[in-house]
C-alpha cells in the first residue's frame, strides 16, 4: 500500500488501514519506546496510546512537513518521554536490563526494499552508534546526551550527522547490491 493511500484510508477511519499500519510500524516504534522506558509493559501501553493518537489525529498529519513514519515516531517518542517524566512512573519503575526487554523482531517484513538491517548497523563505529542510540532511540536531548557520554554539545551534533551519513551510504550499498543480484537473476532467466 502506498503512503498516500494509507493516509487517505486512515482518514476514512478504515480499520484495515490501521491494522496494516500496525503490521508495518509497530515493531520499530516499540523499539524506540521500550528503549526510552526500559519496561515492556509500560512500552506496550505507550505503543497503544501512540497508535490511537495516530488514528484519532490523522487529520493533522501534513505530508509536506514529514513522512508518516517520522510523524508517528515523533508522537511515540514524545509520549514515551512524557511517561518517563511522570513521578508515578519513576516511583514504580522496575527497570529491566535492556537485553531482557529488547530482542530482535522475528519475521518482520521490511518494506524498505529488503535491506539487511543487521549489516546496516554493524558498520557503525561505537562512538556514532552511542550518540544515535541516545538521541534517536532512547529519547535523550542533545544536552542530556552530551552529559551522559561526556562529549561537547557540538560533537553530539556532528556525530549524529556522521552516523546518519554512514547509515545512509550503507543503505545505498545494500540497495545497489540487491538490485545487482536482481539484474543478474533476470539475465540468467533470459538466457535460459
Amino acid at each position: 500500500m502506498q503512503a498516500e493511500e494509507l493516509v487517505r484510508r486512515l482518514k476514512d477511519q478504515d480499520e484495515q488501514a490501521l491494522a496494516y499500519l500496525y503490521d508495518q510500524y509497530a515493531g520499530s516504534l516499540m523499539g524506540i519506546i521500550i528503549r526510552i522506558l526500559g519496561n515492556r509493559e509500560a512500552a506496550e501501553d505507550i505503543l497503544q496510546r501512540t497508535m490511537l493518537k495516530v488514528w484519532i489525529n490523522i487529520e493533522s498529519f501534513n505530508s509536506e512537513k514529514s513522512s508518516l513514519y517520522t510523524w508517528m515516531a515523533t508522537i511515540a517518542r514524545n509520549t514515551a518521554i512524557d511517561k518517563r517524566r511522570l513521578k508515578s512512573f519513576k516511583n514504580n519503575q522496575k527497570t529491566e536490563p535492556i537485553d531482557n526487554v529488547v530482542y530482535k523482531k522475528e519475521g518482520v517484513k521490511i518494506s524498505t526494499d529488503a535491506i539487511d538491517v543487521e549489516k546496516l548497523t554493524a558498520k557503525l563505529e561505537p562512538k556514532y552508534k552511542d550518540v544515535i542510540e541516545h538521541i534517536y532511540l532512547m529519547g535523550y536531548t542533545q544536552q542530556e546526551t552530551s552529559e551522559k557520554l561526556n562529549i561537547p554539545l557540538g560533537t553530539v551534533k556532528s556525530r549524529v550527522r556522521f552516523a546518519i551519513k554512514i547509515l545512509s551510504e550503507e543503505l545505498k550499498n545494500e540497495k545497489g547490491l540487491f538490485l545487482g543480484i536482481l539484474l543478474i537473476a533476470l539475465l540468467i532467466l533470459l538466457m535460459l
Binding site: G27, S28, L29, M30, S67, Y69, E106, L167
Partner: protein, 261 residues
C-alpha cells in the same frame, strides 16, 4: 546561513529526529522554506532513520494488535465495530428531518448551557469586582489617612518636645508634636512604663496656670503615634498612669512625664 553550512551543521538530522527547539528550530524552518532543495536531504535522513529503527525493532505482545484495534473501534466517534460507511447508512435511517431535530436539540442545549454559564460567570465577575472595589476603597482611605498623618508630623509649624521623664520612670521616651497654628497635637510613644492593661490606662492632662489639671485623652500603649486634644493656652501637658478609662483628677504619684510648651 548558507545551504552548505546547514547541511554540515547536523541540524537537519536533529530536526527530523524532533529534538530541535528554540532558535535552531526557527533557523531550520526558515532554511527549509528558503532552500526547497533541502527537502531531498530530509527525505534521505527520514528513510535512513526509518531503516535504522527497523534494525532496532522489538516485537510487541501477540495480543496488542487486537487490543489496539478494539480501542480504536471505541474511540471512533460513531463506532460500534462498524466502518465509517456503515455509520452513514445508520444515520440515513433517521432521515433528514430526524437529523435536523437532533442537531437542533443539541444546538439548543449547547446555547442554553453557554447562556447559563455566561450569566453565572458574569455574576461571579460582578461580585469579584465589588470585593476588589471595596478593598481598593479601604486601601485608598488608609493611604489618605497615612498621608495626612505624615503631613501633620512633618509640618514646619510643629514644635517637637521631648518629655521630661519623672525619676520614677526614667526609661520613658515620648515626643510631643505641638502645632499652635493648626491647633493639632500628636504623641509619639517610643517607650512607656508597663501597665496592667486590664485595670490601667495612660491619661493626658492640660495644665494652665494654677488651675487644676484638665483631663484629656485616655489611651493604652498600643498606639505608637496618637493624635491628642489641643487646648488653647496650655502651658504644660502631662501624662499619668490612671485607672482604666481615666479619671477627673490626676494621681500625681504615677506621673510619667511632662511637656512644657
Amino acid at each position: 546561513m548558507k545551504i552548505s553550512e546547514i547541511r554540515a551543521s547536523g541540524l537537519l538530522e536533529l530536526y527530523v529526529i524532533g529534538t530541535l527547539e528554540g532558535e535552531e528550530l526557527k533557523m531550520i524552518e526558515k532554511a527549509l522554506s528558503q532552500y526547497p532543495e533541502l527537502k531531498a536531504d530530509l527525505n534521505i535522513i527520514e528513510r535512513t532513520l526509518q531503516a535504522y529503527a527497523y534494525a532496532s525493532a522489538v516485537s510487541p505482545s501477540a495480543d496488542l494488535k487486537e487490543r489496539i484495534l478494539e480501542e480504536a473501534r471505541k474511540s471512533t466517534p460513531s463506532s460500534d465495530g462498524s466502518s465509517k460507511n456503515n455509520k452513514s447508512k445508520r444515520n440515513s435511517n433517521h432521515g433528514p428531518l430526524g437529523g435536523l431535530i437532533i442537531l437542533f436539540s443539541l444546538l439548543s442545549l449547547f446555547f442554553a448551557f453557554n447562556w447559563f454559564s455566561s450569566i453565572q460567570k458574569m455574576e461571579e465577575m460582578e461580585q469579584r469586582h465589588q470585593i476588589e472595589n471595596e478593598a481598593c476603597d479601604s486601601i485608598q482611605a488608609a493611604s489618605t489617612l497615612q498621608f495626612a498623618l505624615y503631613q501633620d508630623l512633618t509640618n514646619p509649624n510643629n514644635a517637637i518636645i521631648a518629655n521630661s521623664a519623672h525619676p520614677k520612670y526614667p526609661q520613658t521616651e515620648i515626643y510631643f508634636y505641638h502645632n499652635p497654628v493648626d491647633k493639632k497635637n500628636y504623641l509619639q510613644l517610643n517607650s512607656l512604663p508597663t501597665i496592667d492593661d486590664d485595670s490601667q490606662s495612660y491619661q493626658l492632662w492640660s495644665i494652665i496656670g494654677d488651675n487644676p489639671p484638665s483631663p484629656l485623652d485616655v489611651f493604652q500603649s498600643d498606639n505608637k503615634i496618637l493624635q491628642v486634644q489641643h487646648v488653647e493656652g496650655t502651658q504644660v501637658y502631662a501624662i499619668t498612669i490612671e485607672q482604666k478609662g481615666g479619671v477627673q483628677s490626676p494621681t500625681l504619684d504615677d506621673l510619667i512625664g511632662t511637656f512644657t510648651i
